[in-house]
């Protein structure tokens, strides 16, 4: 795999919600975490990270607050709202269903 595959449409939102469900983070930290947990497989360009965060904020799923970052800079910290938590549950369930189905299909073909 020479290039990280493009993130499946809509999955980014779920990943962001999942990351923020663990702890509130700022944008930079989120980008690091994304790389870390997805093992560089799901390459997320920083370019799409921020619009996605703002979209989630606009939908009321996450909320932003100004705080200071590790190196004492002003940074925007995002945290999950209650509505976001519900959305995450919903998306995770849908994802599980889909991936189960796909796995089943893939296995079927090999059998």
């Amino acid at each position: 795999m020479s290039k990280p595959s493009e993130l499946v449409q809509g999955t980014l939102d779920m990943l962001l919600l999942k990351i923020l469900a663990l702890e509130p983070l700022n944008g930079w930290a989120i980008s690091l975490r994304l790389k870390q947990i997805s093992g560089e497989v799901l390459g997320v360009s920083v370019g799409s990270l921020y619009p996605a965060l703002h979209k989630l904020e606009q939908r009321g799923w996450i909320r932003a607050q100004w705080g200071s970052s590790a190196n004492n800079r002003r940074a925007r910290y995002y945290s999950l709202t209650r509505m976001g938590r519900k959305q995450l549950e919903k998306e995770a369930a849908a994802w599980n269903r889909l991936s189960d189905a796909i796995t089943a299909i893939v296995n079927l073909r090999e059998a």
Partner: protein, 891 residues
């Protein structure tokens, strides 16, 4: 979503919408932070400074682009969608001009009727006095008399007590209507104005445009301060807008008054219906009122007043205090105040002007216009339903493409909102155009400029905005709910789903037609009842002849005559009038029947039945001159008329009416008996037939007459029975009066028929308005019925074609289609009749001798509705017979 979250998300959105710059700034900060972190990391990895920066920028991508995307994500989507829906909706309306025009017309008529009536309510009942401050706290103050329901006037000294001691009132002021002869140049004309307390202009917050208002001292004294503030209208019309008018002298009722001020333009005084032309202080009361100096007389009740309550005080609270004051006065001055109280009336029920007269009509109108609006809405909803059927495909495709149902609902509602908003705009225009229409419905009076404007202020606007939203929801939700039926699976199976959907829709459309017919049937019944009632009122005999008798007044009070001079003038004038060509007889009376004045009344005691004063029944009477009964055509059952010999030197006499004779003498001949009137014993000389005295709607009541000369009034009404046309009589009379005294003006001359019509004008207003709007409602309902029947004919062409092919002939199809329309109409009429049976009781106050359940009214409404329904179905039915069966069956 918790409220806090919802709120915070709303905050984010609104902040982004209104502070896009600030939001942009925040994004910039955030991106810069990210960039710096990346640079720091790159540096830590050993890159040179320049390299670290370039790499970081590259990793982030185009900053401007990201920034834009972030801003985009934060846009207030709802507002954005709304604008888009608006644009789309307007395009849809333009695409179907026929539909749009018809829907708009219905809405404009429906909303316009409401807007007009609400603007009348506002301008006539709730905010009747332009420029007057704080009308929401203004109440009318009138007297009461124990055992009687109506309002009386108040004595000036009593009013002063209220003004001084009412702690809940911010201001108490007098405004008593009066009239005056105005001599400018050679012309004398009668005009109306107000006698006011000195605090008048201050209390209502109106500053004269020129000069000043009244000083506190100017309401004191007998004819003490001949000063006048004139209306802007009078100033412009009669004084040509003379800028140096203040300080000039004008004769009012022949007394020179100094003009001290000119009221601002747009101020019409404080009398609902009439525009006041001048204001004089209470000290000039003698010049304008009969009855002499009354400012220190608690027995003389002549004042009409208003009070403005302090903020937060309710009318009930103020009433308590005013009642307490009245009780105190009753205790302190039992001789004059026994049984007298005071009452505060809301402005819209003011008993002493046209507000009280128009109130019952306008109350009915609220219901009537609500009906018209509902009918119009049902029409528009039906139109939208038909259209939504055509747009089914579009909606389904949009749903399939991922539009949410809420989004579609919003779009449909936005389209309806556009219609409703345009309709409301048009409706307000209709209201504005008809703002002076009420005046047209009332008979004109000479010397009075009528002023009954509709007022379109922010309150009326808000109400109409509310109507607009209500209409949007009522009308828009109907087709919008239809999208609920849309199933994605049906997306392309349009044929099958269309039939199912159409059936649901047909049921809904039929339901709405039934509803429309029911509402318009009720209005038809109402209009029919009112018409019948008016007809009864107009054809009921008032008890006097209405043809060939004219009445007028001679303003001797206004011309400054005292009683002896007035007596001489009256005698001389009577001689001259009797000598006029064509005059059969002529007579004076203090008051005219069915006029505005109130009759004198007195406790009555009859010979042999001497009861204490408190228990004596009170009876009204009129003071009339010789030949009164002959002139008015009131029959004398027994006895004689008054003659010139029944004067101040002769023994007191009286003539009673039939009802009084029956009630007090039980059918025995009362001639020669005595009756105690105002403490003196008068001998009965005649019994007159019953007549109408105050209103055409009253039941026969006891009434009696005394000779004018034995209870003198300086300004009586003059009646002339003549064979000449009114105009000729008027000219002859004016020249006779002027020959005697050029300063004396004649009041308006009118036939007794006109007098009767005038007294029944509120009924005429009600009939006209209800018939007009009832007619409108029926037309709207007929349009609706036509639409539904045409549509069902168009829908069932196949079936009709088949029937034709199977041998059904034209008449049969015609009957079938019309039958369908009539079934709907019949259901509507049944519903309407049931509801109308209950609702027509609301007309109670306006009906005369007609039961609210009158079968004639219900019958004629039934006939009218049926004919209209058949007419509405005729065209679609005819179209059904023109269907070509081969063509239809082949397609």
């Amino acid at each position: 979503m918790s409220f806090a979250e919802w709120f915070s998300s709303l905050r984010v959105r609104t902040r982004a919408l209104f502070h896009r710059e600030r939001a942009g700034q925040e994004i910039d900060d955030e991106l810069r932070d990210h960039l710096e972190q990346q640079i720091a990391e790159n540096l830590a990895a050993g890159m040179p400074a320049e390299e670290a920066r370039t790499q970081a920028l590259r990793a982030l991508g185009g900053i401007t682009q990201i920034r834009e995307q972030c801003v985009e994500a934060k846009r207030f989507n709802a507002a954005e969608d709304f604008v888009e829906d608006l644009r789309y909706g307007l395009r849809q309306l333009r695409r179907n001009p026929g539909f749009s025009a018809l829907a708009l017309l219905c809405l404009i008529l429906g909303i316009g009727a409401n807007a007009a009536v609400f603007s009348w309510l506002e301008g006539v009942l709730f905010r009747p006095y332009p420029m007057v401050a704080h009308q929401e706290r203004l109440v009318a103050l009138a007297g009461t008399s124990r055992g009687e329901s109506g309002a009386t006037e108040i004595a000036w000294p009593d009013l002063l007590v209220v003004r001084e001691s009412c702690t809940q009132c911010e201001a108490v002021f007098v405004s008593k209507i009066t009239s005056s002869t105005l001599n400018i140049g050679a012309r004398a004309e009668v005009t109306v104005g107000s006698i006011v307390s000195a605090n008048y202009f201050e209390a209502i917050g109106v500053r004269p445009a020129l000069g000043r208002g009244f000083e506190p001292s100017e309401e004191i004294g007998s004819n003490g301060h001949p000063v006048v503030v004139i209306s802007n209208q009078l100033w412009r019309r009669r004084f040509h807008g003379d800028p140096n008018i203040v300080g000039k002298v004008q004769r009012l009722n022949n007394v020179p008054h100094t003009i001290i001020g000119v009221a601002p333009a747009g101020f019409y005084g404080t009398f609902v219906g009439w525009a006041m032309q001048f204001w004089v202080p209470a000290s000039m009361e003698e010049t304008f009122e009969s009855g002499g100096y009354k400012l220190e007389d608690r027995g003389a009740r002549w004042v009409e007043a208003y009070a403005r309550l302090k903020p937060g005080v309710t009318r009930a609270q103020a009433q308590e205090e005013v009642s307490a004051i009245a009780v105190r006065l009753e205790r302190e001055y039992p001789a004059t105040n026994r049984g007298r109280g005071m009452r505060l009336w809301p402005l819209w029920a003011t008993p002493f002007n046209n507000a009280g007269t128009l109130l019952p009509t306008l109350e009915i109108m609220i219901v009537v216009v609500a009906f018209v609006l509902l009918i119009a809405c049902a029409n528009v909803a039906n139109l939208l339903l038909v259209r939504s059927f055509g747009r089914r495909q579009e909606m389904t495709v949009r749903l399939a493409l991922g539009a949410s149902r809420v989004r579609l609902l919003k779009q449909l509602l936005t389209e309806t909102l556009i219609l409703a908003a345009l309709g409301t705009g048009g409706g307000l225009l209709v209201a504005w155009l008809s703002r002076h229409a009420l005046v047209l419905l009332l008979p004109a009076r000479s010397g009075v400029s009528m002023y009954l404007p509709g007022e379109i202020d922010w309150r009326v606007m808000m109400l109409n905005a509310g109507i607009c939203l209500a209409v949007t929801l009522m009308v828009g939700l109907v087709p919008a709910l239809q999208t609920r039926e849309l199933q994605l699976a049906d997306a392309l199976r349009s044929e099958a789903s269309a039939v199912v959907g159409a059936r649901g829709r047909a049921w809904m459309r039929s339901g709405m037609i039934v509803f429309q017919v029911a509402l318009s049937f009720i209005l038809l019944v109402g209009a029919a009842l009112l018409m019948e009632s008016l007809e009864k009122i107009r054809t009921t005999s008032p008890g006097f002849s209405t043809t060939s008798v004219v009445q007028t007044g001679v303003s001797l009070v206004a011309a400054g005559y005292d009683a002896p001079r007035a007596r001489d003038f009256q005698d001389e004038l009577m001689d001259r009038v009797r000598a006029m060509p064509g005059v059969e007889s002529a007579a004076y009376a203090r008051l005219s029947p069915l006029g505005n004045g109130s009759y004198s009344s007195t406790p009555i005691a009859v010979d042999g039945y001497d009861v204490p004063l408190e228990d004596q029944p009170t009876v009204e009477y009129n003071q009339v001159g010789p030949d009164y009964f002959a002139t008015l055509g009131i029959g004398l059952l027994t006895g004689r008329e008054f003659t010139r010999n029944d004067n101040e030197n002769a023994p007191l006499v009286a003539i009673v009416n039939r009802t009084m004779a029956v009630r007090f003498w039980r059918g025995e001949d009362p001639i020669g008996r005595r009756v105690k009137i105002k403490g003196g014993w008068a001998r009965m000389v005649g019994v007159a037939a019953d007549a109408k005295y105050e209103s055409m709607r009253e039941d026969p009541k006891p009434f009696f007459y005394v000779p004018l000369r034995q209870d003198f009034a300086r300004g009586p009404v003059l009646y002339v029975r003549t064979t000449q046309p009114v105009r000729a009589v008027a000219e002859a009379l004016v020249s006779q009066v002027h020959a005697l005294d050029a300063n004396v003006a004649l009041y308006e001359l009118l036939t007794l028929q006109e007098q009767v019509n005038r007294s029944t004008s509120p009924q005429l207003v009600a009939v006209t308005l209800v018939s007009l709007l009832g007619g409108l409602a029926v037309i709207l309902a007929a349009v609706g019925l036509y639409g539904v029947i045409s549509y069902s004919v168009a829908q069932s062409r196949r079936e009709l074609g088949l029937r034709m092919a199977l041998g059904a002939d034209g008449p049969r199809l015609l009957r079938m289609v019309i039958g369908r329309g009539l079934r709907l109409t019949g259901a509507g009429i049944l519903l309407g009749a049931a509801a109308g049976f209950v609702l027509t009781r609301m007309l109670g106050k306006l009906l005369f001798n007609v039961s609210p359940h009158d079968p004639v009214a219900f019958g004629s409404a039934l006939a009218a509705m049926t004919i209209i329904a058949i007419a509405a179905c005729l065209l679609p039915a005819w179209r059904a017979t023109r269907i070509n069966p081969t063509q239809v069956l082949r397609s």
